[in-house]
């Protein structure tokens, strides 16, 4: 077996695939090397929920046979990957990050995993998450059966949630890429905190069949990778209509960033207040530099801000009402008390008290938000903001601890995560620098089904910078 070094573990998916096709090593050797690394280092970051070594090696054997016969399936063929442990994989435990569901086994496989299997990608493990994707609201990073997600850049910091293990595993070179899911920030936040590239697809573009439901009207599944290019390659495989998912938009995605509009014709909306006031003061230089890189791509930067709506209130009400309805049997059984985070337990129980009129009011305001954002996107092609206002928080710090910052002069795009999720808009998170040795990221949000445009900007941003290529220590 060849000796694999960090250049392999931190290669992009497309680079790994090229090396496999060139015969530099076999898919089986690569799968074994990644399994070794995931099993050895995954627990160090509390990132591993379940190793699938046996399955992975068998699958890699099949891939090697195909490569020998010259059957090339996709640019992901032979690439080892991990999946957030809320995606079912037939016959294997899917714990949803929660003690009451430990040992839960489904007899069917999530559509996204079947699609990746057909593309020749090799699932090597299930990755940890915040219990039940954090739907009840949680106070501590430790809200998971696998413990707090630890950040590979500094293990005293959180990896972000709820796709904690997906973020850590990609950042630490334990998988070639990973799948995460987002209801409101669960891909963008760990991607930003861990310094990887995350893509939240348009609502309905990727089937959720076989995924744990938290909020039927807001859940999305998306890739977390080493580059924008890889996100495009993975999205191409996992997108598409699915009659098993009632929310499916019935659309496919073909990664073709070269055919998007010329950058000089693109208007990118941003709010100076996000960079000058909302961002943590020590992070501002990196964010300002990233803004200049984007400007240097030739786009027009246009000052803008979000329309005035109670985004957090609406998001919280919808997720709480839908999440508590999803988990009503868990609450009624009393097993909800086995969850790790007391605030999450209380939030799920209290969510059952939300009146129908309040849920409907939130959904009516959501309609207004969608209309207002459509109008906003008449004047801009995409929105740009810091993905998070600063680097990852300390693992020991309560997540609801308010950071002491003065009120800013205007709203800016501060609530972009909630607004984008309420409207089902696609977004990409791009590493853009460091603060105290911890990654920072910017996010781009576009109109529905404009993933290629976001990825085109992301790819060019990453051609101009090397933040996405940086590796965490040790």
């Amino acid at each position: 077996m060849p000796a694999f070094d960090d250049d392999i573990f931190f290669a992009t998916a497309s680079e790994l695939n090229q090396k496999l096709r060139a015969g530099e090593f076999s898919a089986k050797e690569l799968a074994r090397a990644f399994c070794d690394r995931l099993e050895k280092l995954g627990p160090r970051y509390n990132a591993l929920a379940l190793s699938l070594r046996e399955f992975a090696v068998r699958k890699a054997d099949d891939v090697d046979d195909e490569l020998k016969r010259g059957r090339f399936r996709s640019p992901l063929q032979g690439v080892p990957f991990g999946a957030k442990d809320l995606l079912s994989f037939a016959g294997q435990p899917t714990a949803w990050g929660a003690r009451p569901y430990a040992g839960q086994v489904f007899d069917y496989t999530a559509t996204v995993l079947n699609k990746l299997d057909r593309a020749g990608a090799i699932l090597i493990g299930k990755l940890s998450l915040v219990e039940l994707a954090g739907g009840g609201g949680y106070r501590y990073a430790a809200a998971s059966v696998t413990g707090p997600g630890l950040n590979p850049w500094d293990r005293s910091r959180w990896s972000g949630g709820s796709s904690s293990g997906s973020g850590s595993a990609v950042a630490a070179g334990l998988v070639g890429f990973a799948l995460g899911s987002e209801t409101s920030g669960s891909i963008l936040t760990p991607a930003a905190f861990c310094g990887v590239t995350g893509l939240r697809p348009t609502y309905g573009l990727v089937s959720r069949y076989g995924a744990m439901a938290l909020s039927w009207t807001m859940d999305k599944i998306g890739p977390m990778c080493r580059s924008a290019e890889d996100c495009g390659l993975v999205l191409q495989v996992i997108s598409g209509g699915d009659s098993n998912d009632p929310s499916s938009a019935g659309k496919s995605f073909y990664y073709a960033p070269q055919y998007t509009r010329k950058f000089k014709d693109l208007r990118v909306g941003y709010a100076p207040v996000d960079f000058d006031e909302w961002a943590e003061s020590s992070s501002r230089p990196a964010f300002a530099q990233a803004l200049e890189v984007v400007r240097g791509l030739g786009v027009s930067l246009v000052e803008t801000s979000l329309p005035d709506f109670p985004y957090s209130l609406v998001t919280g009400t919808i997720i709480s009402a839908e999440g508590s309805a999803v988990f009503e049997p868990l609450i009624a059984s009393g097993k909800v008390d086995q969850l790790a985070d007391q605030k999450q337990i209380a939030g799920l129980k209290a969510g059952l008290d939300i009146a129908a009129k309040d849920y409907l009011k939130a959904m009516r305001i959501r309609s207004r938000i969608q209309q207002a954002l459509r109008r906003l996107f008449v004047g801009v092609d995409m929105l740009l903001a810091p993905a998070r206002s600063g680097p990852a928080s300390k693992v020991s710090e309560p997540l609801d601890a308010r950071r002491d910052r003065p009120d800013a002069k205007s709203r800016g795009l501060r609530d972009l995560i909630q607004a984008g999720n309420l409207a089902g808009l696609p977004a990409v998170s791009l590493p853009c620098g460091f603060d105290e040795g911890l990654p920072l990221a910017i996010s781009l949000v576009g109109r529905p089904f404009t993933e290629n445009m976001l990825l085109a900007i992301g790819r060019e941003f990453q051609n101009q910078t090397d933040w996405h290529r940086r590796r965490p220590p040790g």
């Binding site: 627990p43 591993l48 929920a49 379940l50 190793s51 399955f55 442990d85 994989f89 037939a90 016959g91 294997q92 435990p93 714990a95 003690r99 430990a102 040992g103 086994v105 496989t109 299997d117 299930k126 609201g137 059966v145 696998t146 413990g147 348009t202 309905g204 573009l205 009207t217 929310s247 938009a249 109670p310 209130l313 919280g316 009400t317 709480s320 086995q338 790790a340 007391q342 337990i345 209380a346 939030g347 129980k349 209290a350 008290d353 939300i354 309040d358 409907l360 009011k361 939130a362 959904m363 009516r364 305001i365 959501r366 309609s367 207004r368 969608q370 089902g424 808009l425 529905p448 089904f449």
Partner: protein, 68 residues
């Protein structure tokens, strides 16, 4: 796709997947639980008040059949 899981496989997988099960979970005081639940319920009521205060045109329909 995957083969059928044997009982031995399942036991091994469970042992690997839930290490935290082996360690006792800190049991919070009942008072703390009650306090958190009361706070969460109070927040639901507060949110209801804020939603009621948000004025929107009567013709606005909920984002029921939501498509991006």
């Amino acid at each position: 796709m995957p083969r059928k899981l044997t009982r031995r496989d399942l036991a091994a997988a469970l042992a690997a997947s839930v290490p935290a099960l082996a360690s006792p979970r800190a049991v919070p005081a009942k008072a703390e639980e009650d306090e958190l639940l009361a706070a969460a319920r109070a927040q639901v009521l507060k949110n209801a008040g804020r939603l009621a205060a948000s004025e929107i045109p009567m013709a606005t329909e909920p984002a029921f059949l939501f498509k991006a």
